[in-house]
Amino acid sequence: MTFNVVVDVAWKEEILDPAGQSTAKVLQQMGYAADNLRIGKQIRFQLQAPDVAQAETAAREMAQRLLANPVMETYAVRVVAE
């Protein structure tokens, strides 16, 4: 079966995000009341697996081992059958 996988990678709460900080500041200068802005990454791909459980396990493993850096990032994995 083919599954669509979406991995959202975000900075851990306590990690400084200079890019998010600067972006929020410019939005504020443009007149928007944006605050606590954090910039993350979204990674999408397709995955072949026998069932949804195994697809999720594999996707989690990929996130853990490569897509996110556990030292400073967290991730969330969504798996949907095509």
């Binding site: 851990k12 400084l16 200079p18 850096n69 030292v71 400073m72």
Partner: protein, 725 residues
Amino acid sequence: MNYQDVGLTAQEFAMICDKLGRTPNALELGLFGVLWSEHCSYKSSKNLLADLPHEGSAVVQGPGENAGVVRLNDAIHVAFKVESHNHPSYVEPVQGAATGVGGILRDIVAMGARPIALADSLRFGTDAASQSLRHAVVEGVGAYGNAIGIPTVTGEVAYASGYEKNPLVNVMAVGLLPAERPISARGAKPGSYLVLLGQPTGRDGIHGASLLASQDFGEGTEHMRPTVQVGDPFMGKLLMEATLEAVGTGLLDSVQDLGAAGLTSAIAELAYRSEVGATVWLDQVPCREPGMTPYEIMLSETQERMLLVVRPSNMEQIIQIVAHWELPYQVIGVITGEKVLTIATEEDPAAAVVAPDVLAGACPLKPVPQDWAAEVRKTAEISPEFTPLTWEREWGLEVLGSLDCMSRAPIYQRYDSMILTHTVWGPDHSLAVLTVKGVEEGLAVAVRGPGRYAARDAYSGGMAAVARVLALLASQGAVPLGLTDGINAGNPDKESVFRDLMALLAGIGDASRAFGVPVTGGNVSLHNETHGEPIWPTAVIGAVGRHPHPLRPVLDAPETSGLDIVWINPSGDAALGGSVFESLRQETTAYPRPDLARLAETYRVISSVAQSADHLTAIRPVEDGGLFVALSRALLASPPSLGMTVELSADTAASQLFTEVAGQFLVFCPPETAGRLESAFGQWPGAFMRLGRVTGDGTLTIAAKKSVHYGRVELERTYARGYRG
């Protein structure tokens, strides 16, 4: 919390209780823990460092400040220092390397100097994981240097399996300041405010530099991983501009950057050096995260922060500057006359009360054995010498295309080496030559740290590190102004490691004395070991020299055919100990101990030839890979039509082509200059050899009984892609 939790020994704890006349509370214990850590106190190395020569005619400021300062001319001084960020770069290579660059730049800025150049010295393992690590570290060095706009003008990299889990990331920064500017970390006066500038404080890297860099990696260190410090070169740029503008007004008492151990170290050092006290209102420190404890605030290693000491009457002007650069700032305390550091919070106005000289100046130092210097200088054990009896054409390519010798372009092209428009020679040469705007003299900047040479005999390796870097300056006729030493080694509590450390420093000390060049400061990084395996003791030496004519560097490759090719090898020895050639054959014999007096004389002659060089003469120090690599690189840097033919005796060819003994130079010159060199070096057997001639056939030809040819394309490809790459 007890003393073990903060990394103190029972003896140190007893001493603290004794000095305070009481038991320290938890916060105080935390402060002692970081400031008396290896990383902040240099307790294992300070007594050894004291033996290095610090005095010299060009020295304005020796060790003990944020950076050393030397005199370029009557109007301009040069601040420079090397610093390591080894442990953080292994934990998180991009951010670890980036924050390392940010940290050393802030050291230079804290001296009131505008940074003008960076140089990096990197060590990695040889496995695949190490190559990804290198990729990330280079990304990090570039990410910070490129964005803040300081060119990375030179550097070096080397590989050995011992660095696999302990990569080295040493970065040197160089800055300029007007001669009349006072050195600024010791001028704090009672009544002046402590103004904290820059990034709000988070829980970043608590214990990062201090504890992490003061212990070995192993099973038990995973939980110690602190919150990774993230570098923000954008904020770094604003902080640099604001600080330099504020320093330029002459209205600041003092400046101190925040690095390892954050506020604790900054305030304690500042008060200690200025011989004052301070009261810090901890609730005033702007925090990025809610609920931070006094301990966390005092120990946070959040990057891009600077502490300014400002008299109340000057506040308005300084704040105006800070506001222009849109930097967050806050008055967080005041300097007091009584030499006491008080940390005050709303609940507890005396949360911590300690004398700065106890905190920053009383950590017991590791004693060194009485006659350590004589002990480590004893003749090296004789290891069986490795001497090939033949030589093969293929060996040249193997060495040229080895990790240690091949082109560094894939690294340095990721660094902006040209911004600020003073880079006359950048990273495609062996050292950097920079112009200094408005004056005739320029700067020669070089960095070398040959760990391989110290693998078997750290004393020899220490001498060789200094000899290597100063050879580069000599080849330009540049006058060395000062050295900075980046010492990297394993766990100093082990006798073998400490012995190597003593030997390494004795070597550096003896060599810098022999060459008459002072060491004006540096950095020591210990505990570079994993599972009990230490790295090679690695001394990264940075040098700054006064270049007499930076707009016209002395050539390092011939530009016309017909020149003589001269090999200067003052020792006349061609031992392969410590060479790349030897390491490719899995051998490690001791690096031949340099004859320092002879090297000093050699550098004087080479420097004077360089200073009076005609436009034809090219001089190139022989470095990693030996003569073969020096010839190949010179060929590749010369016009495509040129070639070289050299003759060697068949039975010694391999040793001569690949030896890395100290003090060798390759000179391409007209016969008159060759004659001058011959009369200068003829006194030492084998020191002068006329090897051959620059030809017009585009080929490197080595005649040793039979003639062996290397085409330019073959050499170019091997140098660029590696052996058989």
